[in-house]
């Protein structure tokens, strides 16, 4: 079982993502942004960070990296892919997921232990959760406000594709408090908070991130 972790220039949480993969007993494979090669991995993580400095729009430049030329068709073909934070932004910029992420409404970078409600457990990355379960994982970004037009939002809600919603106060102005979404097929998930920072006792707010990684192992085995 091999899970690829993409490193773009400016990726930051790639080492953490790899550690989380190892924590559930899978092999973490480094995928380099400059190689259009997925090295035969069974699933891919687009990690957090500031790819290319995120100077234009978050994820906008990374979307054109060679590795994305290989990843986009594979994801469209059903490969389990999760985009965390900057990875979510890359998925939106690539149009693998709808909507976009804009600057937080309070205009500050914000690093907090965030409560989320899990709303969809049918995806490749969330089957080990319960519907309605509340988890606490790290939210840390400056541009985490999820936006989309009303029809898109209605469709996401109608099709049950809102996977995570912020519990409590809206931390960043995301429309309808959306923290994470999935595609029609449920193999691609994007979310702003960071499950990879919640896999080890003592080094994060909880171990609520582990089910993300155990879920995808099952999804791959059952595929």
């Amino acid at each position: 079982m091999k899970v690829g972790v993409v490193t773009f220039p400016g990726s930051l949480d790639d080492r953490d993502a790899a550690r989380a993969v190892r924590a559930v007993g899978a092999e973490a494979v480094t995928l380099w942004h400059g190689d259009a090669d997925l090295k035969g991995v069974d699933a891919v993580i687009l990690p957090g960070g500031f790819s290319y400095g995120d100077y234009l729009r978050c994820g906008a430049i990374a979307r054109f990296a060679p590795v994305m030329d290989a990843l986009i068709p594979a994801a469209q073909g059903g490969l389990p892919v999760i985009g965390i934070c900057n990875g979510f932004q890359v998925l939106c910029e690539s149009h693998l997921l709808p909507g976009a992420l804009i600057r937080n409404d309070h205009r500050k970078f914000n690093c907090v232990d965030q409560r989320l409600v899990v709303e969809n457990t049918q995806t490749a990355w969330t089957s080990d959760f319960e519907v309605g379960q509340e988890i606490t994982i790290v939210l840390k970004n400056g541009e985490g406000g999820f936006v989309a037009d009303e029809p898109t939002l209605d469709r996401l809600e109608g099709e049950g594709r809102v996977v995570f919603r912020y519990a409590g106060d809206n931390p960043n102005g995301s429309y309808r408090k959306i923290a994470g979404i999935t595609n029609e097929r449920g193999n691609i998930v994007g979310l702003m908070p960071h499950p990879e920072h919640a896999v080890e006792e003592g080094y994060g707010p909880s171990t609520d991130g582990l089910p993300f990684f155990t879920s995808v192992l099952k999804a791959v085995v059952n595929a």
């Binding site: 234009l56 054109f64 939106c92 910029e93 909507g99 976009a100 804009i102 937080n104 406000g145």
Partner: protein, 85 residues
């Protein structure tokens, strides 16, 4: 040496926290006459020699492909820079 200027603004229906912050600060500085502020991006692309139609066409394409995200932004103009600016 010529310059192509590309202006990109958030779509009107998308929340603009930065514009809002500026809009909130202006009255505190005594500027009461502005009812709304929106903040966008301005790109200046340099080319060797005069700006040609080809340059403008390429810039327009780059604007759509990379410099803006059509989900949230509009490219409001692509033009050779006004020499008097």
């Amino acid at each position: 040496m010529g310059h192509v200027v590309i202006d990109v603004m958030l779509k009107p229906e998308i929340l603009d926290p930065q514009g809002q912050a500026v809009g909130g600060a202006l009255p505190r500085l005594g500027f009461e006459q502005f009812t709304e502020v929106r903040q966008g991006k301005r790109f200046v692309l340099t080319v060797d020699g005069e700006v040609t139609d080809e340059h403008l066409a390429a810039a327009a394409e780059a604007a759509e492909k990379l410099l803006s995200n059509p989900v949230i932004e509009d490219v409001v103009s692509v033009r050779a820079e006004d020499p008097d600016q």
